[in-house]
Amino acid sequence: MDPRAATSTIASIAPAVRAGKVRAREVADAYLERIAREDAALGCYVRVDAEGARRSADAVDAAVKAGRDPGPLAGVPLGIKDIFCTKGVETTCASKILRGFVPPYESTVTARLAGAGAVSLGKLNMDEFAMGSSNENSAVGTVKNPWSLAHVPGGSSGGSAAAVAASLCVGATGTDTGGSIRQPAALCGVVGIKPTYGRVSRYGVIAFASSLDHPGPFARTVEDTATLLEVMSGLDPLDATSVPQPVGAYAKAARAGREGLNGVRVGVPAEYFAAGMDPEIEAAVRAAHDELARAGAKLVPVSLPHTKYAIATYYLVCTAEASSNLARYDGVKYGARTADPKSLEELYSRTRGEGFGREPKRRIMLGTYVLRSGYYEAYYGKALRARRKIADDFTAAFSQCDVLVTATSPVPAFKFGERMGDPLQMYLADVLTVAPNLAGIPALALPCGFTKAGLPIGLQVMGPPLGEEACFRVAGAYESRTQWHERRPPDVGGAR
C-alpha cells in the first residue's frame, strides 16, 4: 500500500476493501505511517487521530468479514478540516478561543462520510475561522505547500489541499466561503469543489459567513471528488437552508466526460482575464480552453459585467455575518476563558481579545461597522443588491452556455509573509472565486498546468445552480486528456 501510487484513489481502494482484497486497517496504517514521516515538515494536521482511525478501519474490516457492505467509501482514509465538529474529538477552527472544545455532536458531513465507510485520520489545519487565503492566519502553525516549502498552500482550507497533494490522505473535507476550497486546490494542484449553496449541509460546520459558507470535498482526481460529494450531499433536516432536490450522479458524470464534450457549450467570461493575472496562468487557462474545444466543446464568449463589484460585495457580506457568528465566543459556555475577570465586561473583552487572532478581529470590527444602526442600507443593504446583480449575471450567462471555465487564482502560490502586511492585497487573492459564493452556484477547481518554477496552476469550472454534473463532466473530460493530476510533489521526509 503506497499512498503516492496512482491507484491510491477512492475508485481503487473502496472496491478493493469492499471485496475483502485489501484491509481497511492496512490502508489506514500506511497513511498514518506516512503522516508520521512527512507531516512534521508540512504541518497539515492539527490533530492526528490514529486510535480513532484504526478503530473505524477495524470496524470496516469487521463489516466486510461479516458480509455487510461498509459503503461506497469503505476504508478510504480522509482528512477533516478542523472546522467540522467531530463528536469527542477536539475541534478548534485553528483558533485559540476554541482551545479545548470537544463537541458533543457530529457534523452532518462527517457523519455521512463515516456512515459510508470512510476512515478519518484526523483534523486538518486552516486559517483561523476560515479567514484567509494563505493558511498564515492559523493559531496553531502554518501549512507548507508540498510543491515548495517556501510557498503558502492557499487558504483557508490549506491543510486539506496540502494533505491531499502530499498523499497524507486520499480525500479531505473543506469549506469555501470565498474560494477557500478552490484557491488552495489550485495552489496545491488537487481537485476541489464548492457545490451549490444548500447542496451539502452546514450543520456542525463552524460558521464564518452563513450565507456564503459551502462545505465540499478535495481529492486528487475528478471522479474521487465526485464520489465524495455524492456522499456528503443531500437534504438535512438540521439545516433549514439545505435543498431537497435529489443528489446527482456526480461520479458517473465525471466518467462520462472521458467520452468527450460534444454539444457542451463552455462559456469564457472576458472579465475573468483582467489585468493583474499572471501571464503563465493566463496561458495555461487559454490552453485548457483549447483542450476542451478539442474534446468537442463549443467555446462561447460571455460577459459577467458586475464581476468588478464582487470583492467589495463579498467583504461587506462576509464581515457582517462573521461579526455576528463570532459573537457566541464569549468565554461563558465553552472554549477558552480569560483568567480571573473582574467583571462581566472584562470577561468578554479579555476572553475575546486574547482568544481571537488578528484577522478575525479585523473582520469582527469591519462587520460591526457595516451593521451599525443607520448604516445598514448604505453597506449591507447595498451589498445585498449588488449580490443580486452578480447572481443575475450568472443566470444570463448560463442561458448561453452550460459551464464557465476560468482560472481559479490569478497568481500561483506566493511566498510566506509576502502578502501578510497588506490585507487588501490578500483579499484580492479571492478575486476569481468569490462571485460563485455570492451567487451560490457550483464551482470546481482542478489542475491545469505548472509554472516554470514548478508551482501548480488551477482551472475553475462553474455551473448553474445544481449544475454539479455539468462541472464534473467538463472537469472529467479535461482530466482524461491531460496528465497534470498524475504528478506528485517530492517527499520531504522530515525536512524542515
Partner: protein, 483 residues
C-alpha cells in the same frame, strides 16, 4: 379606543403602550428539539442548538408558527404571506449566541386589536405587530461575585405583542394583559402564567396635558409579574411622572424596574440606552411563507373566542353582561357552562349555578377542564333539571349540590338514597295543610285581614313535611282552605 371607565387624571392624559411576551406551549423549542417544560433542573433541557454551540443551526418549529398565526388571526391581524427572521445582537451571559433570533422589519402579524370589557364598557387596543422570537436563558446570582446560567428557557418560543399607545389607565393596562391571557388560553397556545413568566409585560408610560398632540417622554417599566403588579406599577409611574411635571421637571427616557415589595419603580441605570442591536436578516433561516391554504386550515380550526362567546351568551342565551363576562373569562368555565346547557339545563339557571356554586368552589377556573371534576357538567344539568321539574326545592338543591361536590355522587343518587323527593302529591299535601290549619285556628281566623300570615302557614307545612313539600302547591292548597 373608548373612554376609560377609571378615574382620569385631572391634568394629564395617561398614554400607555404595552409589550407583552407570551411563551408558546410547544413541546420542543422554537429552533431545536429539547423540551420547553417549566421547572426542570437547570440545564437539563438543552441541546447544542439552543446552547448556540459552534456550527449548530436553527430549524423553525412549525408548531410555533401555527401558534403565532392563531394568535394573529384571533386578534384580527394581517398575516404576512412572507416574513423573515433577524438577528438582534447584544452580549449577555443568558444569550447563548450573542444574538437573539427575532423578527425586525418583517414580523409575522401586523395590525389587529385586542378587545375586552372594563366595567362592562367595551375597549379595543390596537396592535402594532406580533412577532416571533426565542427566549433567553436565566442568570442565577448566587453568593457575591458568583453567577450561574440556566439555559432551559433559552430557545423557548415567544410571541411579542406590541400595542399602539392606546391604553389610558393602569386598570385598562391590567385588563388588556388579562385579555391577552384569556386569548392565549382559549387558543391553547400557552398557559399565560405571569408568576412563572410564561406571560411577561413591559409598559411604556408617558403623560401629556389633556388635549396635547405631542406625546410626553416615556419610561419603560419592566418586572411586573402579576396583573396587580401591572396596575400598581403603572399607577405609581403615573403619579411619579405627574409629580415631576407638576414641579416643572422633566421625565427621563429610561427603563425602570417595578419593585413590588416596596411598591415603587426604580431606574435600571443600565447602559442599555445606547444599544445598537445591529439587526440583519438571519441567514440560517429561509423566509417563512404562510400561504392562503395554510391560513384557511388554521382559520377552520380556530376555537370560539371570548368576545364571540360573550355575544352569544348575551344574545341567544339571554344572560346578563355581568354573568356572560364571568363565564367567558376562562375557556374552561365557558366550556363547562356550554356543556351544562347542552346536557339540557336552561341557560340562565345553569349560569347561576356555575357562577355561584361551581366557581366558588375552585381556586383556578382551569380546574373545570379537568377529567376528575367532582361535579361534571352533565351531573350539574341533572340537578338543575330536578329543581326545574319540581322534584327538589331550590334550598334542597343547594344541599344536594354540596353533597355531590363533597362525595362525587349524582343528584339522582342522593335524592333517592335520602328520600329527598319534594312532595307534590296533592292528596298528601292536602292532608298536611288541613292538619296545620286545624292546629292553628286563631291564625286561620285572622288570615282574611292579614294575608302575610301565608308565610307562617307555608313554613308550618314545610316543617310538617320535613322540607319536602312543593311550595307552589302548598300555596295553592292553603289559599283554597283559608279563602
Amino acid at each position: 379606543m373608548s373612554a376609560p371607565a377609571t378615574a382620569m387624571h385631572p391634568k394629564y392624559e395617561v398614554v400607555i403602550g404595552l409589550e407583552v411576551h407570551v411563551q408558546l406551549a410547544t413541546k420542543s423549542k422554537v429552533f431545536s428539539w429539547s423540551s420547553t417544560a417549566f421547572g426542570a433542573e437547570p440545564n437539563t433541557q438543552t441541546d447544542p442548538v439552543c446552547l448556540g454551540m459552534p456550527g449548530t443551526l436553527p430549524v423553525l418549529n412549525a408548531g410555533a408558527v401555527e401558534a403565532a398565526v392563531r394568535l394573529g388571526l384571533a386578534a384580527g391581524c394581517a398575516i404576512r404571506p412572507r416574513c423573515r427572521f433577524s438577528r438582534k445582537h447584544y452580549f449577555y451571559p443568558d444569550l447563548p449566541k450573542g444574538f437573539q433570533i427575532s423578527q425586525f422589519d418583517e414580523p409575522i402579524c401586523e395590525g389587529g386589536a385586542i378587545k375586552f370589557r372594563l366595567h362592562g364598557e367595551p375597549h379595543s387596543v390596537r396592535l402594532t405587530r406580533i412577532h416571533m422570537e426565542e427566549d433567553a436563558g436565566k442568570n442565577l446570582h448566587a453568593a457575591a461575585g458568583v453567577s450561574f446560567v440556566d439555559y432551559n428557557r433559552a430557545g423557548v418560543p415567544l410571541c411579542e405583542i406590541v400595542s399602539e399607545p392606546d391604553v389610558r389607565s393602569a386598570e385598562e393596562a391590567a385588563e388588556y394583559v388579562r385579555a391577552i391571557r384569556a386569548l392565549v388560553r382559549y387558543l391553547g397556545i400557552g398557559d399565560g402564567n405571569m408568576e412563572e413568566g410564561s406571560l411577561r409585560c413591559d409598559a411604556n408610560v408617558s403623560l401629556r396635558l389633556h388635549g396635547a398632540k405631542e406625546y410626553g417622554t416615556k419610561a419603560e417599566i419592566k418586572n411586573m409579574n402579576s396583573f396587580k403588579n401591572v396596575r400598581d406599577a403603572v399607577e405609581y409611574e403615573v403619579k411619579r411622572q405627574a409629580s415631576l411635571l407638576d414641579k416643572g421637571e422633566r421625565v427621563v427616557q429610561e427603563t425602570r424596574l417595578w419593585d413590588a415589595s416596596r411598591g415603587v419603580t426604580q431606574s435600571m441605570r443600565s447602559k442599555e440606552q445606547a444599544h445598537d442591536y445591529k439587526y440583519f436578516p438571519e441567514p440560517d433561516l429561509p423566509p417563512l411563507v404562510v400561504d392562503e391554504a395554510y391560513l384557511a386550515q388554521v382559520r377552520a380550526s380556530q376555537p370560539e373566542l371570548p368576545e364571540d362567546r360573550f355575544a352569544r351568551y348575551t344574545g341567544k342565551d339571554g344572560l346578563s353582561p355581568q354573568d356572560a363576562g364571568v363565564l367567558v373569562a376562562d375557556r374552561e368555565t365557558a366550556a363547562y357552562f356550554d356543556a351544562v346547557v347542552k346536557a339540557g339545563a336552561p341557560g340562565k339557571k345553569a349560569a347561576n349555578w356555575v357562577i355561584n356554586e361551581v366557581l366558588a368552589r375552585v381556586a383556578d377556573p382551569r380546574a373545570l377542564g379537568g377529567a376528575d371534576l367532582a361535579v361534571p357538567a352533565a351531573a350539574l344539568a341533572e340537578l338543575v333539571n330536578l329543581i326545574e321539574g319540581g322534584t327538589l326545592s331550590g334550598k334542597l338543591g343547594k344541599d344536594v349540590f354540596a353533597k355531590m361536590w363533597a362525595e362525587k355522587r349524582t343528584a339522582g343518587d342522593i335524592v333517592k338514597a335520602e328520600g329527598l323527593t319534594q312532595v307534590s302529591d296533592t292528596g298528601a299535601l292536602e292532608e298536611a295543610c288541613k292538619r296545620v290549619v286545624a292546629a292553628n285556628p286563631e291564625e286561620a281566623a285572622r288570615f282574611k285581614d292579614t294575608p302575610k300570615l301565608m308565610g307562617f302557614f307555608v313554613g308550618a307545612v314545610m316543617k310538617e313535611t320535613g322540607g319536602k313539600a312543593n311550595p307552589k302547591a302548598v300555596n295553592e292548597i292553603l289559599r283554597r282552605l283559608l279563602g
